[in-house]
Symmetry: D3
Amino acid sequence: MQIQNATWTEVRDTDTNLAMVPIGSTEQHGPHAALSTDTLNAETIAETAADQLDEPVVVSPAVPVSIAEEHRQFSGTLWTSESTFRSYVRDIVKSLAFHGFDRVVLVNGHGGNVAALREVAGTITRHDDAYAVPFTWFEEVGENASRMGHGGPLETALLQYANPDYVREDRLDDAATGGSRRWGDWVGRVNLAFDSAEFTENGVVGDPREASVGLGEDLLDVASEILADLLKTISEHDIERPPHK
Amino acid sequence: MQIQNATWTEVRDTDTNLAMVPIGSTEQHGPHAALSTDTLNAETIAETAADQLDEPVVVSPAVPVSIAEEHRQFSGTLWTSESTFRSYVRDIVKSLAFHGFDRVVLVNGHGGNVAALREVAGTITRHDDAYAVPFTWFEEVGENASRMGHGGPLETALLQYANPDYVREDRLDDAATGGSRRWGDWVGRVNLAFDSAEFTENGVVGDPREASVGLGEDLLDVASEILADLLKTISEHDIERPPHK
Amino acid sequence: MQIQNATWTEVRDTDTNLAMVPIGSTEQHGPHAALSTDTLNAETIAETAADQLDEPVVVSPAVPVSIAEEHRQFSGTLWTSESTFRSYVRDIVKSLAFHGFDRVVLVNGHGGNVAALREVAGTITRHDDAYAVPFTWFEEVGENASRMGHGGPLETALLQYANPDYVREDRLDDAATGGSRRWGDWVGRVNLAFDSAEFTENGVVGDPREASVGLGEDLLDVASEILADLLKTISEHDIERPPHK
Amino acid sequence: MQIQNATWTEVRDTDTNLAMVPIGSTEQHGPHAALSTDTLNAETIAETAADQLDEPVVVSPAVPVSIAEEHRQFSGTLWTSESTFRSYVRDIVKSLAFHGFDRVVLVNGHGGNVAALREVAGTITRHDDAYAVPFTWFEEVGENASRMGHGGPLETALLQYANPDYVREDRLDDAATGGSRRWGDWVGRVNLAFDSAEFTENGVVGDPREASVGLGEDLLDVASEILADLLKTISEHDIERPPHK
Amino acid sequence: MQIQNATWTEVRDTDTNLAMVPIGSTEQHGPHAALSTDTLNAETIAETAADQLDEPVVVSPAVPVSIAEEHRQFSGTLWTSESTFRSYVRDIVKSLAFHGFDRVVLVNGHGGNVAALREVAGTITRHDDAYAVPFTWFEEVGENASRMGHGGPLETALLQYANPDYVREDRLDDAATGGSRRWGDWVGRVNLAFDSAEFTENGVVGDPREASVGLGEDLLDVASEILADLLKTISEHDIERPPHK
Amino acid sequence: MQIQNATWTEVRDTDTNLAMVPIGSTEQHGPHAALSTDTLNAETIAETAADQLDEPVVVSPAVPVSIAEEHRQFSGTLWTSESTFRSYVRDIVKSLAFHGFDRVVLVNGHGGNVAALREVAGTITRHDDAYAVPFTWFEEVGENASRMGHGGPLETALLQYANPDYVREDRLDDAATGGSRRWGDWVGRVNLAFDSAEFTENGVVGDPREASVGLGEDLLDVASEILADLLKTISEHDIERPPHK
């Protein structure tokens, strides 16, 4: 159930303990993909998983601006501090739990949010009256996960399949040639770079020409199935904290 | 320009100092209007004003969850603390200003945000590198403003005109009869109530049967024209702070 | 009972659940009225209402510095951040409630505090062990409320009646001619100005020559009666939060 | 110059870099002395020193509620968190400095504030555009300092001299017999107690019968002279921070 | 140079822009390894790398308590909130930079700190006058990284080599049999567990019997060499933030 | 029991409610004493007292960086804000209490921490599930306390006895001649200085040549005995907060 399309009486009549909060971002995705790429993709995955599930699940509106300071040199990128972001997500989850939807998946579309979401999910689970876990869709696509990049094959493909108007097909060549092959600037496993402008000229990492509608559909199938499975699991999961040893 | 539908290169090529941030809410609007009423209406007003303006204006994604704790007893209402909300808005405006869009209207659809938006706009204007003012659409509709209520004639009418799928027409009678005539519980001009559940049974204030598509169109015309005028004015406004006396 | 003039044993022996916290400000009020105008007026109203009430009410010392950054260009104006102000007021109310005085009116003398007081009263009522409401005296003076201004007829009159030494009668003409007619700089209902120095030369809004001792007495009568009525009402009011629907 | 009794134009015409902020408290002082004892005494000292000084000094209104949680078991005691208190004082000093009064003495009447004032004065001096130092009057009374107690000879005497209405002379015997001889509950120099109710029955420490009007006058003479001397010194003091070594 | 073993004059005479902050933890490491395992190992790596470097590098004392709430059910585990931890590290780095040691490696020994260190390093690099990167030693040991666990082969081996007194050799069998094979409780790549007590009986993950002094030496060689390389690189690295595009 | 040298199972098997947290600092101590002087001395005192006690007491690792901004002009000095420091200590104590070690002495080696430790101990005792008191060793050495200084006879002597490698004996003359006689720059009891560089050339206050191994041993005997006594006392102390009066 998309909460924003429902009335409060319809939500009241929904019998579930499950909710999802899509976590998007408004940030550069190269010259070919819209700034809302992460938001759209998170929404797509959440909606598809909700449809697959037998029991109802409440889906909140997507968080549209998140941790994207690393892309700030590229026009149009919006961001909040990590601390503000965590507070915003935590407050939303607390509201959901207030109504009884206290097992919540944070369905994430942006790599820059992964760590902060894990942190805030831990805080919620340990200290609030709710249980939350983050789910980042492009980590849940099998071997394809290694091709992620930024504005690369995976994100572009999912857009092409579910929101094709948000891809500028005529700029895919530009996107590929002006981008970089790899995220970051590395010594061992240490990334020396903090801003993507340090290693990509046009914001792209990876080759979005490898994307296709078919790939998008495949990614959606795989990720949404795992998400639906996750929802089913946490609905029955023992979320009580373990006793002291 | 809707920033979420643009690429960063398209934003880069946009020559303006103007931006709008629609400020919505996810909160009960009676049994007949969707929880996203405030978000949809704020977006409608912002988009219409942007279309009317000769010069470009950047429109960010709407803030979907805001200060709505007063409606928390009604299922599905989501809220953040006032402090989190102000930080979230401030961070977004700072990002916009970082790209040169440093004159920003906060286009608000929810009464509960009015005070916090004025506060944060003052903080931004005095202490950040930007100028911001809040604009609450239903205050800018002439004499109609007095009929505001909650889930009442104005909000319902604008939805009916611009987003009719979000109104349950068959529940308008229920909405009207189960609601209250007036917002609050008063001694003089002091409202004793802090939660809307203290004075309305079904969340409605006012009679949504007074709404109509025609009224919605009128409201939109009036409010968006004032908003467009506001944008033109601040674009040229002297925003330097006055000297000490 | 003025708490600052009492010993703890006298407070202990006071049987009531009512308290008032006068909220003042130290800020410019034109060339003719003292910087403490708002503090003095808030104290006057609170004391008069306390005298009218049959049951005892504890009156804390006035908060002397509050949200007045908007007047900062005028020498002598003192201010705190909104956040500090709210914390200061909340802590005071929590202390009062710790002693059993858990129904508290925040008796306010300054327009710049109205929004922050409503916010903090909501926080206290929902999350602390107390109930609080703000009362702003110049909103409770019937039709006179429309003549408020700043350092204008109402504030000057109340000073003239209750604290005449704080008005420089010989500067009333200067005050009137160097002031402005209206608070703010407006497009529709949006105030473009954030600092009063943007629209008033000497800090005054309105014509303080319309003030008189008689007007001051009338204002005090009206406002203190409503305040006394408010106290009586909240003393018996059901302050439990409503159940979830 | 008492800032609350002045207009902004009078403050503007005052040529000085000096200011004082009296720091009071609203807290139990036994059955014989008013809850505002610390505020009154801080004001008395500040005013007297201001009168003695040849150059003008701006005196802000007193901070009426401060760090007094240690007395919370005694009715009427009000307090803020240490953090709120520091923010409140810091904001006031920043306002004063904004107008050019950037050398500020925090004239303190309450032992519980000593540490927090030293901390915030350091923060202000190192990180804001101002220089501040705390001055606690009862530490500046020569050998008498050792007789301080709480509601004891020193505080009572200063009240008797400057604000006699705030002492209940007929309860001095009760005050003395129901109080304790010493502040705290000690192992070595560690005070095991955090609340004064752990070691004093009626809130008093020391014997207020040793107070007298004459002693009050003497204390005021000594302390205000040192304070005036302090003001003269800091007015000319090199407040630049030392270079790195 | 170990800063804690030096005098300020010796630090002053040290010509470098490089510093390291070892980041430890005090947390359960099974029945066989001391609670300070992470601290000791971080110190070992930092010291060894410092010795290998031709130029001097300042090494601060280790941060002894960090983000270990996930182990709280096991006695003796100490932790701070993530927010406190980030502030503590940030303040230390700012102090180092104040003295000119403004390129700082955060040499980390605890998996629970990885995300928070990356976040705070970004904040420092973008907003303070310093450049910082985290380095987590057990990520920098080639293929061995996959055997990490908790209190498993890698940590135990490094202790055995560098701090053998901190391993209880006679409990290695117990450690192995009472531990678990894998960190976490997984659906796809989502870890449902937030506390290690949810999936390990005695706190161990992995088989510490696979550890050996020789393995410890190898790990130290590999990791410290990469760390020395990292230090050389950042000493010359262009740390200016990229321009807006 | 040194917690960092124990396994969690060993801590679990320790039957006590007592803990100590040594509070050190990394800050200049003149040309002759190491930057870690305060940490080492706090650890020495805590360990010695632990040995003297009949019952077990848990000793956490020392907090190595604390409130030392006053020494920032001297190279190598590290510091945190007061607020960060208090949070760090509070979190550690809360962790200890989580395991049942809820009576905690903060064994302090640095004068700059005294006030902040008393504040945070009060916060813990009143608002957390623990009781804490600070103990500053050099205040507990009888008449010797008056000779404290900074890097002076007391601190140097304790180092000479317990950690002689951390004293540069050949620089004692330099230390003495380049130091100052007195801490601070005074008017009455007000210290005008906020940074030690305002009154000491080389960071020293007092004459470290008065130190000796014998004096160090004496200081340790006296202070650790009082500390052991304190531990015994609080182990049995009634720590319940007093009732309201």
